[in-house]
């Protein structure tokens, strides 16, 4: 079982401050930041009164983020929307950037998600201290009764930890499972191809012809899709088996071509979106909890 599952490897180390390692995650998150900055600048320029084309989409997106923020944090906290949108977009782009093949998704690394959740915790502590003073914040840990203090302290630590691990675990776990399945399918195709090509080129040729005939028959007669797939697969297997028997091309992992991609759609795309939404919504709820209530008398 030679499944190679490794963390973000270090490209090079900047020698100042005792060596700052530049890892794959740093590169991906810088690329994501660059991408978001250029996108927002380009999309934010020359906005027309009557939006056309891309501007409609952008306005819809920004509107959704503002609705999400106001629904989770209340009308008086709408000014938090840009911050929440940044977390949401950098989390989604961070997860999706892994699909480019050579980059590693930035959220598949604990150092990225833990930084975000610690950042959120620092914001919460700052708001608490600003709202009811440093002593008030410390006294807050002894609510509702003094014996609860250790529990409150633990929950203060557990909150950023759970947010970081949930996001990291989903994205990284999905990546590992997809890697394992890729390896399994490439082993399967290596096995099948060796079986075909072991006994010389005859088997491959026969399979090639049979597959081709089946495919043509199924397409012409408009048969069920499964027949066409069967024809295509046997055609491919025969072709690559033949090539391997003749020694031209060996061990092409053709079986790992289609199927794992479907899985990575679920793991990378769907759970990337869900985790971004969960992380942002929880950030909103936690920060809203630490913000002072709106003064009704102030807003007449």
């Amino acid at each position: 079982m030679n499944v190679s599952v490794d963390g973000a490897f270090v490209y090079f180390i900047i020698p100042i401050f005792g060596g700052i390692p530049i890892t794959q995650t740093t590169v991906s998150s810088f690329l994501v930041t660059l991408l978001l900055i250029t996108a927002s600048i380009r999309l934010g320029k020359n906005l027309q009164k009557r939006p056309t084309g891309i501007q409609v989409l952008v306005e819809k997106g920004v509107g959704m983020i503002y609705d999400l923020t106001t629904s989770a944090m209340g009308e008086h906290n709408a000014h938090w929307a840009p911050f929440m949108g940044t977390i949401f977009l950098s989390s989604i782009c961070g997860s999706l950037i892994g699909l480019t093949g050579f980059l590693r998704s930035s959220t598949a690394d604990l150092s990225c998600t833990l930084t975000w959740s610690i950042m959120v915790s620092v914001i919460i502590w700052y708001n608490n201290i600003k709202a009811n003073g440093f002593v008030g914040w410390l006294k807050g840990f002894t609510e509702p009764v003094a014996v609860m203090t250790p529990m409150n302290l633990i929950s203060e630590v557990a909150q950023p930890m759970s947010m970081a691990f949930r996001h990291f675990g989903n994205v990284a776990g999905g990546g590992v499972i997809t890697t394992i399945i890729y390896t399994a399918f490439s082993m399967l195709s290596a096995l099948v191809l060796n079986l075909i090509s072991a006994s010389g080129w005859a088997v491959g040729a026969v399979l090639l012809v049979v597959g081709a005939l089946l495919l043509i028959f199924a397409v012409l007669k408009k048969k069920k899709l499964s027949l066409k797939i069967l024809g295509a697969v046997s055609l491919l297997l025969g072709l690559f088996g033949l090539l391997q028997a003749l020694g031209i091309l060996s061990d092409v992992p053709i079986l790992s071509f289609g199927i794992p991609a479907v899985l990575s759609c679920y793991f990378d795309i769907f759970s990337g979106f869900v985790q971004a939404l969960v992380f942002t919504l929880l950030t909103m709820v936690y920060i809203a909890g630490s913000l002072p209530e709106p003064q009704e008398n102030a807003q007449a």
Binding site: F165, R166, G169, G173, V274, Q275, L281
Partner: protein
């Protein structure tokens, strides 16, 4: 491969399997419960379906956390222990 290494590998495989197996029971039951009640709500009040769906997905993602913890620990056992 001497016996000690074989036992170590067997232990790792057993540990990872048990960890993931037992760790998956809790979230599965919790999420099934959450989705069930969300569907009841949707059946009773179809126009609230959108709101219920987002909260259901949110709740499921949060209950998934413990399952993800056991997944991570299983990977740690398998790949780094």
């Amino acid at each position: 491969m001497e016996l000690a290494a074989a036992i170590a590998i067997a232990g790792k495989a057993l540990g990872a399997g048990l960890c993931m197996g037992i760790g998956a029971i809790g979230p599965a039951v919790g999420e099934g419960n959450a989705v069930g009640h969300a569907l009841d709500g949707m059946a009773r009040q179809p126009e609230a379906a959108g709101n219920l769906r987002t909260n259901m997905i949110l709740g499921c993602a949060i209950t998934e956390t413990t399952g993800i913890y056991s997944l991570l620990i299983a990977f740690l056992i398998l790949f780094t222990l």
